[in-house]
Symmetry: C2
């Protein structure tokens, strides 16, 4: 089962690390306990809406962007659950023809 809190944690951590900020810095700006933020990032704690808003603000990332990233990660995770028949295992003819041309060069 794909869990929202894990994806939220990953997205928050990704934004923080991309900005080169430490857990301590973000926790201080968001006025949340360091240990709590760490657990949230690891997907071990559900984050309340108020604290999520504070952390997003501390990261200067709109909540809509955090949730857009979460949605994309969820879609990717859900994709791996789909039946294999959704993924074509043959190449379209025009790609094969193209590949033939290159292989003969």
């Amino acid at each position: 089962m794909v869990l929202l809190r894990q994806e939220i944690g990953d997205v928050l951590r990704t934004h923080r690390q991309r900005q080169g900020q430490t857990l301590r810095q973000v926790a201080a700006k968001a006025s949340v306990a360091l240990g709590y933020l760490s657990e949230v990032e690891r997907g071990q704690k559900e984050v309340s809406s108020e604290i999520l808003a504070s952390v997003a603000e501390a990261l200067e990332v709109p909540l809509s962007i955090v949730m857009r990233d979460v949605s994309e990660r969820l879609a990717s995770a859900e994709g791996s659950y789909f039946d294999d028949t959704f993924i074509p295992d043959t190449l379209p003819d025009e790609f094969v023809a193209q590949a033939d041309i290159y292989s003969r060069q």
Copy 2:
């Protein structure tokens, strides 16, 4: 402050109502208490990741779609907080010229 739980609640309710399902039906399918689901829909209760997954499954909506809808609602809500200067209050010259042409016809 825009709160995640309110947007999640609105999105879940929208999907449920679009499907013509009652709170009772979805609560039963998701194995959650009717009163709890009602509070979640009204944005009064934080929903755990496990229960959110169950409700999304009961609605047969992938969690990624729920969160995409949430992200779009958040973006719209955030937009209303932006300073007015982000919204141009004048039309580009070429639009004005175009409007002049039409008004003279």
